[in-house]
């Protein structure tokens, strides 16, 4: 919504702040080259941004992202058997590796995964024999010669068409999809099961993990995220609400209920509380680009795990430790169930995750230091340098520090993405998308 001139009599502020629920961004993902950035929202729409290519000779600004295509991916649905609505909210988008001129992406809501083909058309054939310029069929008697249609350039058109619909694979809500490195299969995970699909086959999928107990009364743990290994097509990992990670090898058996490796941090008995389990629930898991490490996010921390060591994480980063004393209130207002995502940078030297009050955090793995940044339009003009922020937790109070009780818990940074090669990040803040670029170190370097 635009910036209205504020009438002296009528206060339009509430209109400015009103966010249509459907516009809330629910997922962000770069493609493998970083030229395309896709966002999904609660209204079931996908918006694809494309990076402007730099013209040779221009003074060196990296390209900016502009809207490339918008389409409606999922529609609200209704489960007649259970008398429940199926939300059209896009839970995840994953790009397929590019194989030809067209781009393919998978988008999913709670129940259905769809494969979309995004293709450009910038030429059209002209000079048909049987049709005139407007497309009307010519009178055959007027055709006296034969001519070959010629392709003429035309305005760029981006077409998005659904190519596959993978339906009826999940009883519970899909939380993750992950494309395999073999380029042919992908997995989709819901609360209790993980299925593996072939990209060309929509009426069948393999169930590779099933943690549903025989008696649902015994259910105490659910699957929260899952991902394929970036290089080994037989390995995948899934996380649970109890804070465990399970690495599974599909060569071991068809049904990977028995993990190959279980990653679990032993609980500190001294710090146990009624909220211990809830805050240990892993909300996101990501393999590093190297495939050697895992990054997980639970409510208060982000942890890096070495695949070779299952006894505990090798690094733990406190995202917002100051919330530990507020867990009861956060449980009351349900914020404790927020699922934050986490991402690696391209060289696996920096990790990033979101927090409240439009803050997001970056941690340098080498130094162990973290910074807090803010994604909020009032404070950032285009091309302005991001200031680091701080939450005041004691000691000397600096100007600009935000008190813990002043944090806005409705402004949560849950979804984000990091460009696969450069230091460009995309942050989803409610219905706004922020794209930040590092001008100082535009290319990823080990710092």
């Amino acid at each position: 919504m635009g910036e209205d001139a504020e009438s002296p009599k009528i206060n339009h502020t509430f209109l400015r702040d009103y966010v249509t629920e459907a516009d809330v961004i629910s997922t962000v993902e770069f493609n493998q080259t970083g030229d395309l950035l896709a966002t999904g929202d609660k209204g079931g729409r996908v918006v694809i941004f494309q990076r402007e290519t730099e013209e040779a000779g221009e003074v060196g600004d990296s390209g900016e992202y502009n809207v490339y295509s918008t389409f409606q991916s999922h529609e609200p649905d209704f489960d007649y058997l259970k008398s429940l609505e199926i939300e059209e909210k896009i839970n995840k988008i994953r790009w397929l590796p590019q194989q030809n001129a067209a781009h393919f992406l998978l988008s999913t809501n709670d129940k259905t995964v769809k494969l979309w083909k995004v293709s450009e058309r910038d030429k059209r054939p002209e000079g048909y024999n049987l049709k005139d310029e407007e497309g009307r069929i010519k009178d055959v008697s007027t055709i006296t010669s034969l001519r070959v249609p010629v392709l003429k350039p035309t305005d760029l058109m981006v077409e998005v068409r659904p190519r596959r619909v993978f339906a009826n694979g999940h009883t519970y809500h899909i939380n993750s999809i992950s494309v395999n490195s073999d380029g042919e299969t992908y997995l989709s995970a819901d609360d209790l099961r993980i299925n593996m699909w072939h990209l060309d086959i929509t009426d069948r999928s393999f169930n590779i993990v099933d943690i549903k107990p025989a008696n649902m009364e015994d259910l105490t743990e659910v699957i929260t995220a899952a991902e394929f290994h970036p290089h080994h097509c037989h390995l995948f990992v899934y996380s649970s609400s109890k804070g465990t990670l399970r690495l599974c090898d599909m060569r071991a058996s068809a049904l990977c209920d028995r993990h190959t490796k279980l990653f679990e941090e032993p609980e500190d008995p001294g710090s146990r509380s009624f909220f211990s389990e809830i805050i240990s629930s892993v909300s996101d898991v990501k393999f590093s680009h190297s495939g050697r490490y895992l990054l997980t996010r639970d409510y208060l921390t982000a942890k890096v795990w070495d695949l070779n060591m299952d006894k505990g994480p090798v690094e733990t980063y406190q995202v917002h430790e100051y919330l530990r004393s507020k867990l009861c209130s956060l449980y009351e207002n349900d914020c404790i169930f927020d699922k934050f995502e986490c991402v690696w940078n391209s060289s696996d030297s920096v990790i990033m995750t979101g927090a409240y009050n439009s803050f997001f955090r970056m941690f340098d793995r080498e130094t162990g230091r973290g910074v807090t940044l803010e994604a909020w339009r009032e404070n950032s003009k285009p091309r302005a340098v991001l200031r680091t922020r701080r939450v005041y937790t004691g000691g000397k109070r600096r100007r600009g520090d935000v008190g813990v009780d002043s944090l806005d818990f409705t402004k949560k940074i849950l979804h984000m993405a990091w460009h696969p090669e450069e230091n460009i990040i995309a942050i989803a803040a409610t219905n706004n998308l922020y794209i930040f670029q590092d001008r100082v170190n535009p290319d990823a370097q080990t710092q």
Partner: protein
């Protein structure tokens, strides 16, 4: 930022002591050192108050589910695990028995707070009744799509009554009769409806119908509660395959009618029902005791603000 509800005013310091405070480690009650009755007395009152408040909050969260969209299973499981943890700890303390008995002895006002439309699509119900001599089976998540379990309500004859609640069958034939039974035998009908309320399996097509009927049952039970004799009957019994719930439309029509005549059937069959206190029982008692002070339990809320708070939650959802 945070809603200024009764919880704040009730135990600001208590809350901070239990849930707040600085220092490392999660804040919150640590497990009691020994599961002996003496432990219950040594636990600080603020701790047990806070634990109770957490239990209340969790039960309300489990009840307030979305009407149209399936509730988040992960959230439900985490809340259920929390309730289970509290339940286990309170059982070890011995405070579970105290609380349930206190609620059993409480007067139940006629007005119901929890709207029937709220009591729907539960993803969990309390676990099946424990076997004799064992600690109550932990609170658990019941079948989302299958598992229509028959209800089992078991009660021992003395103060060490097992506290448990069975999972409910949406097609529970004898459930209504079980509930009705409690009336004339004066065993706190105000919470027996929990069993009916809790059985709204989200996969049951007639969920809303079920809930509506159960809510209406609750209304009747309240009315009956006022007219109960106060006589308490103990006995070991088991009720399986509860009766099918009545037609919700009829429920609404006859919500003011005293259904004690229903009891005759079950009375004549010699079955007795004294529902155990389970998580949903607690929720019902919470919302039903209203302005009436519960004398014997320090852990129960009894002020109007609490009711308003609950109403806000209900209406707000």
């Amino acid at each position: 930022m945070f809603p200024k509800g009764t919880k704040r005013k009730f135990s600001d310091s208590g809350e901070e002591a239990v849930c707040g405070g600085g220092g490392g480690g999660d804040q919150g009650p640590s497990a009691p050192p020994a599961p002996s009755p003496a432990v219950a007395r040594t636990l600080s009152s603020s701790y047990s108050l806070q634990r109770q408040s957490l239990l209340d909050m969790s039960l309300i969260k489990l009840q307030l589910c979305h009407m149209l969209v399936e509730p988040n299973l992960c959230r439900s499981v985490l809340i259920a695990n929390t309730v289970r943890q509290i339940q286990e700890e309170m059982t070890q303390d011995g405070t579970w028995q105290i609380m349930t008995q206190a609620l059993a002895a409480a007067q139940c006002p006629a007005d119901r707070l929890v709207a029937t439309e709220v009591l729907c699509r539960q993803t969990e119900a309390a676990a099946a009744a424990a076997q004799a001599g064992q600690s109550p089976k932990p609170f658990s998540v019941s079948g989302l799509e299958e598992g229509y379990h028959s209800e089992e309500v078991v009660m021992d004859g003395d103060a060490e009554a097992e506290v448990a609640m069975s999972s409910l069958s949406p097609v529970s034939p004898q459930l209504s009769s079980a509930s009705y039974l409690a009336g004339p035998f004066g065993m706190g009908p105000c919470w027996e409806d929990d069993e009916e309320d809790a059985d709204c399996d989200e996969d049951e097509e007639e969920d809303s119908e079920e809930c509506a009927s159960e809510g209406e049952d609750a209304e009747r039970h309240h009315l009956r509660a006022d007219s109960r004799t106060g006589e308490q009957v103990f006995g070991t019994f088991e009720i399986k395959h509860p009766a099918p719930p009545p037609d919700p439309a009829l429920e609404e029509l006859f919500s003011d009618v005293d259904p004690s005549y229903y009891d005759l059937d079950t009375v004549l069959t010699g079955m007795q029902s004294t529902p155990k206190m389970g998580p949903y029982d607690l929720l019902e008692s919470l919302s039903s005791h209203g302005p009436t002070a519960l004398s014997s339990s320090a852990t129960c809320r009894s002020d109007l603000n609490e009711l308003d708070h609950i109403m806000e939650i209900i209406v707000g959802s």
